[in-house]
Amino acid sequence: MHSLSNRAKVVVKKEMTLMEKIYLPAIFSGMVITIKHFFKKKPTIQYPEQKREFSKVYRGRHILKRDEQGRENCTACGLCAVACPAEAISIVAAERQKGEEHLYREEKYAKTYEINMLRCIFCGLCEEACPKDAVYLTEELAPANFDRSNFIFGKDKLVQPLGTSAHPKTYKPYKK
């Protein structure tokens, strides 16, 4: 068969020499290798105390942004739901009533906005599809849970809490 990597070695089953038969030199060289590893610097990160920094483009759990006046950006256009390859997003739209102008930026808003975190593959296509700067993927990890129904994140978990207006990537909803 043609070799793909060109690194294949032909194994020759030849008679072992006396030195090889004694095995002790091979054992000794093996022990030299392990003792070298013994004194190597360890790459361990002491997790709860030390944390590895996430990549700048890390895609974690979602957030629905508000604008500077605390109004929800989302207009329930449904482009994110269409873009989603895992079909994890479902939206129910509603019309903004009189007196709700301080809550929603435009006339149409999302009455429910649910992301199924078990389906979501964190590809970030919703973020790319959004024309209103509403949905972003943060650096936060999607937390574990015991119940499947708790993985469907509604607006209660997704919408940015009032009074926080950091950059969407560095925004950390669960940190106090």
Partner: protein, 347 residues
């Protein structure tokens, strides 16, 4: 007489305690060494550097459910680990932990008992040790346990022969079976350096054979076939839980400590260290230094045991038997012949 008894009881309790302590911390050292060799850190959460880890493990062992399988032979099932542990601890009686101390106007020997057949005693007790494994494996009424026990017993018997033969060559040079005397002889000067006439100089091949055989006797990798996890679940201790399992594991580490002590005593001068008489120190100081040196040598051997364990893969069973019967035994016999010839030529 009473004073003699008190001396001995104090010594016995001390040796017993130190043996258990070292066995306890060998488990910690094993995990640390394994971690470091595999580019990890090993246990480091319980206490500083994880130093309390053995205590945590001990507490866990005691709190685990004590389970005896329904079809197991209850008496033998309990007897197995007891025999293992007892025999592992018995050997320490003849090891000379140090020279003598001059305290309270009398001389106290730091060897519990210097019986004149010390080496024979060690071999006898070690051979009983295999009963612990055999009984435990048999009483479990489980095929994996039985296979592990069978492997252990045939391996021990095979390697005991080579071990005994390699010791015979040593006894030919020393002319005594008493461990105390063997160690004392090694305190003789070599090339003008006192306390350096170690038997390793006269018996390098014998030492190598003895080392390999002690790895096999302690069921340590690459000879850990009796408990090979990936073929036999846990080998002879598959059915054991709680402190009974703890006893088996503990016995293994105790054995490792004791065989390290015996190797240091037989081949590496025991409590003798170079320039021991030329330093001009008082006798008691030299004795204490010697004991420290002896423990240093023991720790080196324990480290060697662990180092090898995390380097080498396990033998296949036919390879194990081939090594034991077709290589080590002939080599040991050749070693005896060479030693005999050299004794005739030089004496």
């Amino acid at each position: 007489m009473e004073i003699f008894l008190i001396d001995k009881i104090v010594l016995i309790v001390a040796v017993f305690g130190i043996t258990l302590l070292i066995a306890l911390y060998s488990t910690y050292a094993e995990r640390k060494v394994a971690g470091f060799i595999q580019d990890r850190l090993g246990p480091n959460r319980a206490g500083i550097f994880g130093l309390l880890q053995p205590l945590a493990d001990g507490v866990k062992f005691f709190l685990k459910e004590e389970f005896i399988p329904q079809n197991a032979d209850k008496v033998l099932f309990i007897l197995g680990p007891s025999v293992s542990m007892t025999t592992a601890l018995m050997t320490s009686a003849v090891i000379p932990w140090g020279n003598s101390l001059e305290l309270f106007d009398r001389v106290i020997s730091l060897q519990i008992t210097d019986i004149n057949i010390g080496i024979l005693y060690v071999f006898a007790v070690v051979s009983i040790g295999v009963y612990g494994i055999m009984i435990g494996g048999w009483a479990s009424n489980n095929k994996f346990s039985l296979l592990g026990a069978l492997r252990a017993s045939s391996q021990m018997i095979s390697y005991e022969i080579a071990m005994g033969l390699s010791i015979i060559a040593l006894i030919m040079t020393t002319g005594t079976l008493s461990l105390g005397e063997i160690v004392q002889q090694q305190g003789a000067p070599l090339f003008g350096i006192s306390g350096a006439s170690w038997n390793i100089v006269y018996q390098p091949l014998g030492f190598l054979l003895f080392l390999i055989c002690s790895f096999a006797e302690c069921n340590r990798t690459p000879f850990d076939l009796p408990e090979s996890e990936n073929e036999l679940v846990g080998g002879y201790h598959t059915e054991y839980s709680s402190m009974k399992l703890g006893f088996y594991l503990f016995a293994e580490y105790t054995n490792m400590f004791i065989s390290s002590a015996i190797m240091s005593a037989l081949y590496f001068g025991g409590y003798n260290f170079p320039f021991m008489d030329q330093l001009g120190l008082p006798h008691n100081v030299v004795t204490i230094l010697g004991t420290l040196f002896f423990f240093g040598k023991i720790f080196m051997f324990i480290f060697l045991f662990m180092w090898v364990r995390w380097t080498l893969p396990r033998f296949r069973y036919d390879q194990l038997m081939r090594l034991g019967w077709k290589m080590l035994i002939p080599l040991a016999l050749i070693n005896i012949i060479i030693t005999g010839l050299l004794i005739i030529v030089f004496k």
